[in-house]
């Protein structure tokens, strides 16, 4: 008798659950069958009429029915919730091709980007980055670099003078001397900075530009190490396929001296408009530190040797970013800066 009642309740509940269109309907079903005044509760309340020994059995059957209904309710609820969520998301669809809202970021100067690249490479090779004064004594800019008082190179460099003894440095090489004078050996340093020469402003000249000086002093150093170091540098800076060529040159503070060309990174060395058909682009000057320069800085040239190099930062920036007019670097037009 009870069994039949239960079957009836179950099938009726299933049918009502199936018909529920939303969570409210489903709740009504729950109240109707499982609530305090619900049909299943009513059955339990009728237990008092059942024989005492039958009660556990009947109780179990009722509970079974209750569990069945609860499970069905649960499944139906999950299914309904899922469809509600799906509908909601569907309505929230956006046009992902509408414009982005960008944070406004500033841009770094191409000189700075080039400098940071160079610094990264040499820091990786164990070089310390140091700085020296831009307003400098004649001694550090010239004499200590083997350019004595009447040396024609002093004229060649078109120096800006403040007094007879104080000038605007024409090269970052003076920092070499400051470092050597500190007497801490070995040395591996690069020194970036602003230098000045009295060139009129045009597309390829500026009275103020930047150099990065490099110096390595140690007991066992050779010209081949200079070649290797700078070849590594060129590859890091311009790409792994970059080839380098060293040509003899003259600088008063190095001997032997060289200029380094890199294979044109635009045409790979075949020759193009960019490299003026030569396939090579001149990049820097370098050489073995002149023993006389070491001596003047109280370093024994029989014990220590070294190499030095100097790179024009603007030259690298102009080449690497294909900027065709140096004046752009100092105008600070936002439309220019934005491109970096």
């Amino acid at each position: 008798m009870i069994k039949e009642t239960l079957e009836k309740i179950k099938s009726e509940a299933q049918a009502r659950i199936k018909d529920s269109a939303n969570l409210e309907d489903l709740n009504d079903v729950r109240v109707k069958f499982l609530g305090k005044k619900g049909e299943l509760t009513a059955v339990l309340k009728g237990m008092k009429d059942v024989a005492a020994e039958e009660r556990p059995k009947v109780g179990a059957v009722v509970n079974e029915a209750r569990e069945e209904i609860e499970e069905a309710l649960n499944n139906a609820r999950l299914a309904l919730e899922k469809s509600v969520m799906e509908n909601k998301l569907k309505n929230e669809k956006i046009d992902v091709t509408l414009p982005a809202k960008k944070p406004i970021l500033g841009h770094r100067h191409p000189n700075q980007i080039a400098l940071e690249e160079i610094e990264r490479i040499f820091i990786g090779l164990g070089y310390e980055v140091v700085e020296g004064p831009e307003v400098e004594r004649d001694y550090y800019n010239f004499e200590a670099l083997n350019i004595p008082a009447d040396h024609p190179a002093k004229d060649e460099q078109d120096t800006f003078y403040i007094t007879d003894d104080i000038l605007l440095r024409t090269q970052t090489s003076g920092t070499q001397v400051h470092e050597m004078e500190k007497g801490r050996l070995p040395i591996r340093m690069i020194s970036p900075g602003r230098v000045f020469r009295s060139d009129e402003v045009d597309a390829t000249h500026s009275p103020s530009f930047h150099q990065v000086e490099g110096l390595l002093i140690d007991k066992e150093v050779s010209f081949s190490d200079l070649k290797g170091t700078l070849a590594e540098f060129a590859k890091e800076l311009f790409g792994a396929d970059t080839k380098v060529k060293f040509r003899p040159h003259h600088f008063p503070f190095t001997e032997p001296s060289a200029e380094m060309d890199v294979s044109c990174f635009k045409c790979g060395g075949k020759g193009c408009r960019f490299c003026k058909g030569e396939g090579w682009i001149e990049i820097l000057g370098c050489g073995m530190v002149h023993p006389h320069v070491l001596e003047m800085s109280k370093i024994d040239p029989l014990q220590y040797k070294g190499f030095a190099f100097g790179v024009g930062l603007e030259r690298i920036a102009l080449l690497k970013y294909e900027i065709d007019d140096m004046r752009l670097l100092y105008e600070n037009d936002e439309r220019f800066l934005k491109q970096f």
């Binding site: 500033g106 403040i162 001997e255």
Partner: protein, 808 residues
């Protein structure tokens, strides 16, 4: 330095290479070739023709029809050239041939100009007669060529001959970049020596015949020479030539002079120029008849002397200028230019040749002071080898005899002290290999040296250096010579084996890197501006006459007033850059610069100035004082500076008087910020826009920066916050309220913030409504109301003391 390959080959007869091979090999051995000009590049089918007949063109007044004999046939050519006459021998380009350029002498087209058969106004023409311009040259080196006309060959030129050959254009002119240490290479012989060594061929010096030996008349009978200022003249060689016959130089000499860009003038002048090019020894020729007292004296000028040089210009002299004088007067500025009073004219019959060695530095400085830099002074200033002077003199005299243009007297007058000896450098092959990172045998090294005329003294183990190689002095120089001829490209490529401490940036650079990052995150782009500027900047910035910023370092030789002082403030560069953007209609521009300023301790400068990097932020467009203040504070907090920033109203003339602040940390000024004064904006052509700038003195910031961070734990107990709503007299600043809260809040105070500010109708005259939220926290316990009330009472009392009314 330009030199023809034909001339080089005269002294390196076995040299065989293409132009490109020559350029590459010379460059790699250290004589850098900048480029070359193959003279016959675009010249083809050009012969010597002779005009046989000229008739009028039937239909054109300005054209004539010529019958021209080109050796194997006579061809008809129509020309508009004004200077043609029957019998003339002229260069003729045949149909199908090429010339280098147009008759106007304009820039040469890359591929030349092809000449075709054609008709001119209906009359057939089978070629073209050429001017020197059409052949790619100019009247500069062919002074005899007519202006705007066909070139006329000398009468003895062979009809039908290759005209390019006659002109000497089967040649290539190379342009070298000679480094300042290689004085010897400012000469054909020097470059020929390098070429011989580079290609490992024999160098054959020009044969110089002895001259004047048979003459009974000696130079020393005619002239005496005295050097008074030996410090400026180490050698003076004089030699006299008589019975001079001025005339044209032979073709071979003219060709070589032209290849170096020198215009042939007459045999005597040409010889001095030729020897200067060949030996790198400038020479001078005086008309002997003008020299008083049979005497040459080399001495310094007197201050204030005025001297007329052979170009007719008056030159002011001083006591450091070396002069060549005769028994009475000055007759030339040593090493720079001769005098008008002794110059060679076409009527000269007797002449004194001079080949001397002057102090290079003195010549360089004198030329600069006088304002007269000549080919000769340009060479002298490099400092010449005194040995070269006599060699050059003998060469010149041999040429005089060879050209038959004079009678060279017996012997020279050669005045000098002891001449420099050959230097010696210890030959250290192992050390050289160590230095270069190579493994070259000692024999191989010696072979390189022998090519350079450097001898090896087996007994002493020394390398003996020829005197013309003044640049070879020590060990490093010897290693460079080995490296050059072994080949820089063959030296191995290695990395230094030695160890060093790890690479790093300095602390200062790290702080600057943070400054760049923050500025860029805040939308500022990096600017770079010049360190020098005009003193007018101070007026543009409205600085007072006595403002300390006006004490700027002056450059003694600036590029002009605009670049004449070192900046003492970073504003001009920033404002100029902003103005550039503003006037190019770029909207809302934000720039920053890490700009160095140069602060002199005293003027004139005795000690090096203080170079201080200033983080300079500047913008126009969206934003205001407080958004800029936000950038400053984010930067300061990001670099972990200790201490709280305070702001005081400032009185800088270039800023808006009511909208500027000094930025202060722990009582020390870090910088300033504010809106730029509208008059300053106007001075920078930015009238009508508001411009804001902030300047932070980086050295002060770096001192106070730390990258050390310590975790302080996350608070376990809740914070309690209270709002304070007040009516504040207008003249009380937020900073004053902040100070009270800070001072009275004690250690329970965690944070506080102004969240409302109102001035207007509902507030009584002279007051403003201000609201703060203040939060408290105790790290050790939950705060009770009583705890908070006690602190709040202190704060509120403090605020009342300022005349502030509290609202409920």
């Amino acid at each position: 330095m330009n030199t023809s390959l034909e001339w080089i080959k005269a002294y390196v007869p076995d040299l065989e290479c293409t132009d490109q091979e020559y350029m590459d090999a010379m460059t790699l051995s250290g004589t850098k070739v900048e480029g070359y000009n193959k003279l016959d590049k675009n010249l083809d089918k050009i012969v010597v023709g002779q005009i046989k007949e000229i008739t009028k063109h039937p239909d054109a007044d300005k054209l004539v029809v010529c019958q021209v004999d080109i050796g194997d046939q006579v061809i008809q050519i129509v020309t508009g050239a004004p200077n043609v006459e029957v019998g003339q021998k002229v260069p003729v380009v045949l149909a199908g041939g090429k010339v280098a350029g147009g008759h106007d002498g304009g820039p040469l087209p890359e591929d030349g100009i092809e000449i075709k058969d054609g008709k001119l106004r209906g009359v057939e023409s089978h070629g073209m007669m050429c001017s020197v311009e059409e052949l790619g040259s100019s009247r500069e080196v062919f002074p005899e060529a007519p202006e705007n006309g066909i070139y006329i060959f000398p009468e003895d030129t062979k009809v039908g001959a290759d005209a390019i050959e006659v002109f000497g254009f089967h040649d290539t002119v190379f342009e070298y970049e000679i480094t300042s240490n290689r004085v010897d290479c400012y000469s054909v012989l020097g470059i020929a020596r390098e070429a011989a060594a580079t290609f490992n061929k024999k160098f054959v010096a020009p044969e110089v015949k002895e001259t004047g030996a048979g003459e009974s008349e000696k130079t020393s009978d005619v002239i005496s020479i005295e050097i008074k200022d030996k410090d400026l003249c180490s050698r003076y060689v004089g030699r006299v030539v008589k019975d001079i016959k001025i005339g044209e130089s032979p073709d071979w000499m003219k060709k070589r002079l032209r290849s170096a860009g020198i215009r042939p003038i007459n045999n005597m002048v040409d010889i001095t120029n030729y020897v200067m090019l060949e030996y790198g020894q400038p020479m001078h020729a005086f008309d002997l008849s003008t020299i008083a007292g049979n005497k040459i004296i080399v001495r310094r000028a007197k201050d204030g002397d005025v001297f007329t040089t052979l170009d007719g210009q008056e030159r002011k002299l001083d006591s450091e200028v070396l002069m060549i004088c005769d028994g009475e007067k000055e007759i030339g500025i040593a090493g720079i230019m001769g005098g008008e009073n002794s110059k060679i004219t076409d009527n000269v019959t007797e002449m004194l040749f001079e080949a001397a060695t002057f102090n290079g530095t003195n010549i360089r400085k004198s030329a600069k002071r006088i304002g007269l830099r000549t080919d000769a002074s340009g060479i002298f200033e490099k400092g010449l080898d005194p040995h070269n002077a006599l060699d050059a003199m003998n060469r010149a005299c041999a040429l005089v005899e060879e050209l038959g243009c004079g009678r060279v007297l017996n012997g020279a007058v050669d005045v000098h002290d002891e001449l420099p000896e050959k230097k010696r450098i210890k030959f250290e092959p192992e050390r050289i290999n160590e230095y270069l990172g190579t493994d070259i045998s000692a024999d191989q090294m010696l072979e390189y040296f022998s090519r350079l005329e450097v001898e090896y003294d087996k007994n002493s183990g020394d390398l003996v250096i020829p005197t013309f190689r003044q640049d070879l002095i020590g060990f490093a120089d010897s290693s460079e010579e080995v490296a050059r001829f072994y080949g820089y490209d063959k030296i191995p490529t290695t990395l230094p084996s030695s160890s060093a401490e790890g690479g790093k940036l300095s602390f200062k650079m790290r702080v600057e890197a943070v400054a760049r990052e923050i500025a860029e995150f805040a939308g500022f782009s990096q600017a770079m501006t010049y360190s020098f500027e005009s003193p007018k900047v101070f007026d543009k910035l409205l600085l007072d006459e006595n403002a300390p910023e006006r004490a700027a370092i002056k450059i003694s030789n600036p590029l002009g007033e605009d670049f004449s002082i070192m900046r003492t403030l970073p504003l001009n560069g920033m404002l100029t850059s902003l103005a550039t953007n503003y006037n190019r209609r770029n909207k809302e521009v934000r720039l920053y610069e890490l700009a160095t300023i140069y602060i002199p301790e005293s003027l004139p400068l005795k000690e090096l100035p203080d170079e201080r990097v200033q983080l300079t932020l500047g913008f126009y467009g969206k934003g205001d004082f407080f958004s800029l203040k936000g950038c400053v504070e984010v930067f300061i907090s990001k670099i972990g500076m200790k201490g709280r920033l305070e702001y005081e109203a400032g009185d800088r003339p270039y800023l808006h008087p009511g909208r500027q602040a000094e930025i202060i940390c722990n009582g020390e000024k870090l910088g300033y910020m504010g809106e730029v004064h509208p008059l300053v904006c106007k001075n920078y052509d930015m009238e009508g826009t508001r411009v804001y700038i902030a300047v932070i003195d980086m050295p002060k910031v770096v001192e106070k920066t730390t990258f050390n961070r310590k975790f302080e734990g996350i608070a376990k107990f809740p914070a309690v916050s209270r709002d304070i709503s007040m009516v504040v007299p207008k003249e009380i600043s937020a900073g004053q309220i902040d100070a009270v809260i800070l001072q009275r809040g004690g250690k329970l105070l965690e944070d506080f913030k102004l969240f409302d500010l109102y001035e207007g109708e509902q507030i009584k005259e002279g007051f403003k409504s201000v609201a703060y939220t203040v939060s408290f926290r105790d790290k050790t316990k939950t705060l009770s109301d009583d705890d908070v009330n006690a602190v709040m009472k202190k704060i509120l009392n403090g605020l009342k003391d300022l005349g502030i009314e509290l609202r409920s």
